[in-house]
Each structure stands twice: as C-alpha cells, then as structure tokens.
Amino acid sequence: MTKELETICITTGPTEVGEYVTLNIGPIHPAMHGTLRVITQTDGETVVSAKPEIGYLHRGVEKLGEHLTYAQFLPLTDRLNYCSAICNNVAYEMAVEKLLGIEVPPKAQLIRMIMMELARIADHQVCVGILGVDLGALTPFFYLIIQREEIYEIFEWHHGARLTNSMGAIGGVEADLPERFHEKWPRLRDTIRKANDETDKLLTHNRIWMDRTIGVNAFCGDDALDWGFSGPMLRACGVKRDLRKDEPYLMYDKVKFEVPVGKHGDVFDRYMVRMLEMEESIKIIDQAYALYKELPDDAPLMKKVPKIIKPPEGQIYHAIESPNGELGFFIRSDGTDKPYRIKIRPPCYMVYQAFEDLVKGEMISDLIACLSSLNVIAGELDR
C-alpha cells in the first residue's frame, strides 16, 4: 500500500496540500480513449498541472517482434492504432520490403493506397465523432460512424477482417479489389460526403462549438516541431508537412491532392484539418482508382518473395503518413529469419508528451476536448 502511494507521489510530483485538488482522470473514465490516465491538479476548475501516465496497454509489441518471424509480426501491427490498422500493416510491410530491396507491383501499390486512404477516412471519422461526443454533441458521431461501417464492409470483402485487418503481405497484397467495390465506391463516396456535410452543418458554424474549440490550447508551429509533432496535429499548427507529399511513397507522387493547413493549432483547427483531409482522401482514392483501372486485369499482385524471409544484415527506418502522423518502423536485421530489433515510432507518443504544455492553465472541459482532438490511441502509445 505504501509502495503504491509512493509511486503515485513520484508521478504527481510535490503536491501543495490545501491549495490544489488532485483529480485523477482515468484510466477508467468515459472521456479517456482507451486506457489513458492523467493526474491533474486543479485550482477550482482550472488545470494547474496535468501529468499523463502511460503504460496501461503496454503489451511489449516491440519485444515480441524479436521472437517472431517477419511474417508473424504483421498481425501484431494491427493492434497499434486499431482505428486505422491498415496503415500500420502497410507501414511495416514497406519497411521490410525496403530492407529486402524489393519493389511491389503497381497494382498492389494502388490497392494499398486505396485501402490506406479508406482507413484514413475511417480514422478521422472516429476522431471527429468522438470529439463531438466529448463536447456534448452526440448526433454527428452516429452520422460518421454509419459511414465507417460501410468502409469496414469494403475491408471485410477484401481481406475478411473489419477492425484488425492484417491486410496484405510482405511483397504485395493477397487479393484484388473485391468485385463489389466497383459499384460500392461511387455510392459510398457520396454518402461519406453527405455525412461530412451534415457534421459540418451541425458543428462548424455552431456558436457553442466555436466557443468551445477556437483558441482552446492553441499551439505554435515551432513548439510543435520541437516536440516532434506530425500529421494533422502539426498541420493544424500551420506547418505544411505531409510525408505523402514531401517524401512520396507508393504512388502518391502520381496523384494530386491538397494538404490542408491550420493556423493556430487549436482544437478547431485540428478538427477542420481532419474534416478537410477526409475530402482529400476521397480525391486520392478516385485518382488511384482511375490509375488502377488502366492496369490490365491480370497484372501481378505479389512480388515473389521467399517463404522464409531472411533480409540481409542491416537496418532500415521507413515512415509513412498515417492518419495520426508520421508512423515509422525501425528494423535491424542480423541476417536471420527474425528481426534483431524492432522499434516503432508512433505519432501520438510525441504528441502526448506535450500534453501538459497543451492544457496547462485551461479548464477541465478543455482538457477533455484537447485529449479527444489529439486522437491519442492507447494501443499505439503504449505498444
């Protein structure tokens, strides 16, 4: 018991008894997405300090990777950011492919792109929906989540899984786009746009929504870069950085899309960046699908790779633009069939470490809004 208390004291730092109230938010709390915990000290409703404590969902994914073969590790990557598992899969596959020095056939690249952008839309839909829920607007969540279900339907047709996808394999993808995708996509595109439109109407120009989000934990671009922000969080701060544009992978250099950028880095900008990115993703899918249509039907989907993958000795870091930001895989190979070391660079780890800076001096309600807008996924954070 005393030992427990000691650890808590260490994590919270010195408490000024009688002045501030220590309020423990999470790990079980309706607004904590997954198992996050924030130990806050509050002066009335104002947050004086907020110490995030992580590790409640730590499963040792990186260590497990050292004991699994390259192919066996793939399903574990699903469990990182479970809102957009496909992006994790592809990021890992691409890192290994880079290590092996193989180029994936164009058709597989395009299918990966389409699936990843669908996953991005799904991820942003969840993030925006949950932000609404946490600020008291429950209705848009349902509009968005219905569309996410439709997207998951496509995933199910393609590779059989909805949430933990384990899509593709090292060397390509296992299946062509499902037959039903061709007629589903044009319809789905319209309904996604409609749902986004309805959400936009309900929230964006709503006076209460604007009051709750504009100027709330604003963050400047330089600070964001110092903390290692990436993805929508960084773009909301006004820094135009998108790995899809800056360091193109797959066929992102062959499609045209805009990179939405915010200005103040507040909750509203993060929300807007995500809303606009969904529209850009739709454009990317359309273009990728057009490119896909140009390819012959019997184009290869898989590059031939040996059954037991033994990459040459060496190390590699490969990062992609996941919905949350830069998702990188560092792999060191010692020439055997198992990696010597795997290190994952999750985007929200870098964002979450700035949490105290983000919420200090704001109110408890803002803390909740901030946490939702960061889109911290516990699986990715703790690994």
Partner: protein, 346 residues
C-alpha cells in the same frame, strides 16, 4: 361530493398524469434521438418499445443499493428525495385546463390556485437544486463535488434572469396567479395577434426559455452531469432507485417547465381566435381545454429533446458568461422597457 374529495381526486389525477408524461418522455427521448441519429432506438419491449420505461423502472428498483463507505450517509440518502419532491409538487399550481362541470358542480382544473402562483414554482425549483448539491457533497467523490458546485453556480446564475423574465409577466398581468395570467391571455390584441405572453414579451420568453434549459440541466447546460467530463457529475456514486429518482426527477422537471412555459407565454389551455366554450358542452369543454394544454406542452417537451440532440455543451465559464453578461442585462432592459410601457399605457 365534498370539496376535499374533489381536491383529492385532482391531486391523485395530476400526480399520475405527470408521472405518465415523464415516463413517456423517457421513451420519446430515446426514440426521437434515435430518429435524429439514424438509429432505431429501443423497440423490443412492447409495441414500439413503449414498455421500455417500465423495464427500466423494474431494473432500477431491483438493483443493489450501494452507499459508498465514506459517504455522509444521511445526506446521501436525503439527496434524491430532496431533488424529486419539489419537482413533483411544483405542478400543483399549474392550470392544466379551464373548468369542467360535472353534476352541476364547477370544478377548476388546477390543483390549487394559490395567490403567489409561480413564486411557489421558483421556490421549489430552488430547493430542488439542493438535492443535487447535497447529493454531490455527500458522495465524497471529487467528480460529484465538482458537479454539485457547478449546479450551485448554475442555480445562482440562472434563477436571476428567470426571475427577471417572470417579473415582466407580473408587471404585464398584475398577478402572480398562473390561472389569472392564462385567463388574461385569451382573445386577441392589435386585432390579429393572439393575446399571448409570447407576442407581448418575445425577449422575456427567450430569456425564460434559456433559463429553463439551464434549470432543467439539459444540453447545452448539462454541466452538473456532463458525462464526458465529470462521469455524470453529482450522481456518479448513486445507483439503484436513488439514481432513478434523480433521472426521473429531471423528466418531471421538464414536464413542469414545459407546462409553465405554456401557461405564461402561450395562452395555457386556450386556442387562439376560437372560444371553445361557445361550441362545446361543459364536460367536453373541460376535456378539450385539457387536451389543448397537453398538446402545447408536448411541443415544448419535444423542443427540449430536439435541442438536446443538436447542440454541444457549454463550458463552465461560458455558461456563467452567458448568464451574467448576456441574460441578466437583457432581462433588466426588458424589465425597464416593459415597466415604462405599462406605466405609459395605464
């Protein structure tokens, strides 16, 4: 029948009626929100899920009653009834119909036409907030106490504009009695507008409505509960029927607030342009006036649901800002202008 027997029947009738509407409201809330959110809502218990509130009631009654170890027991037990009783009794002064003649005896459709009228309602709604504050305090939980504190702050901020809005009504009609006010709202003025408080006091109505939403703890003013921040705030630690009393009390509160809105601003039981008593017999007229009142009330109840599922919630300081910086000055201006007009016209 003696008068006391009639009174007793009225009391029992209105008690059952308010309970019934509140129960139906919980169902309407779910079904309407489901309709707005592309869902189905509860549809298993009975036709259209109409028996769902009953199932909920049984569930709440049969749940284990837990009192947290470090809670202040007496206050903890006192909280829910302290919240529920005032909101139940507030309906007593609401005129839910004009009058009905049965067996040559004229019966006024109102439990009690007290001369202080809605002052009684204001007083009771102020007491009801103590139920929340005490519940939040006695739970000995930080989330609950924050909820309780927010409830207190909300009460202070929103009773004042509500009082200011109601004062203009008093100036206008010269009485506190809700029945008198409704009677004065029959007929038309300026030749075409119904003689309703709404048309004479549009700003006052707006202030009253906003304050009523805050009073009812509904989104956008549901800060004392605020599920995503305070884990349902002041009733976090409550379970079983104690929780049920809180939840149900809120719906009863809605019913009362809707009834008062109708009585003060929308002509109570009267239809605009039509004098029902001319066309209907005494019994039919009584029933018709009751139905008209209920329909108007139903509209405002639906408005509560509608708003709840449309807008996000305020932040604590923004709520205070709206109360003190917007509603109270507006209420004062409204009061001043009304007083001036009344003085000039009389």
């Amino acid at each position: 029948m003696a008068d006391w027997q009639i009174d007793l029947i009225k009391v029992v009738f209105i008690w059952v009626w308010v309970l019934l509407i509140a129960v139906i409201m919980t169902w309407v809330e779910r079904r309407a929100s489901a309709m707005m959110q592309d869902r189905l809502g509860p549809n298993r218990a009975g036709p259209f899920g109409l028996l769902q509130p009953l199932a909920d009631g049984i569930k709440l009654f049969t749940k284990e009653d837990i009192i947290p170890e470090r809670a202040r027991k007496i206050l903890f037990i006192l909280g829910p009834p302290l919240f529920a009783f005032p909101v139940f009794s507030a309906f007593a002064v609401v005129p839910f119909g004009d009058k009905i003649v049965i067996g040559g005896k004229e019966i006024i459709l109102q439990v009690s036409d007290v001369s202080i009228g809605f002052l009684y309602v204001l007083a009771l709604s102020a007491i009801a907030v103590f139920g929340m504050v005490i519940g939040g305090w006695a739970s000995n939980s930080k989330y609950s106490i924050l909820g309780g504190l927010r409830a207190t702050a909300q009460l202070i901020s929103y009773e004042v504009p509500m009082g200011l809005a109601l004062l203009t009504i008093v100036l206008l009609y010269g009485t506190f009695s809700l029945r008198e006010i409704v009677l004065q709202q029959q007929g038309t003025f300026l030749g075409f507008l119904p003689n309703w408080g709404f048309f004479k006091q549009p700003l006052g109505f707006l202030i009253f409505l906003v304050a009523a939403y805050a009073e009812a703890n509904r989104v956008p003013f549901d800060l004392p509960e605020c599920e995503s921040e305070l884990v349902t705030g002041y009733h976090t630690e409550y379970g079983s029927m104690r929780l049920g009393l809180y939840l149900f009390g809120e719906y009863v509160n809605l019913v009362t607030l809707a009834a008062i809105t109708v009585s003060l601003y929308f002509g109570g039981w009267g239809l605009p342009y039509v004098d029902m008593s001319k066309y209907l017999g005494p019994v039919a007229y009584g029933i018709a006036s009751f139905l008209v009142f209920t329909l108007k009330q139903a509209f405002f109840l639906f408005l509560f649901v509608w708003v709840r599922w449309t807008v996000p919630r305020f932040r604590y300081d923004q709520l205070m800002g709206l109360g003190w910086k917007a509603l109270i000055p507006l209420g004062l201006i409204n009061l001043f202008v009304t007083a001036l007009l009344v003085q000039l016209t009389i």
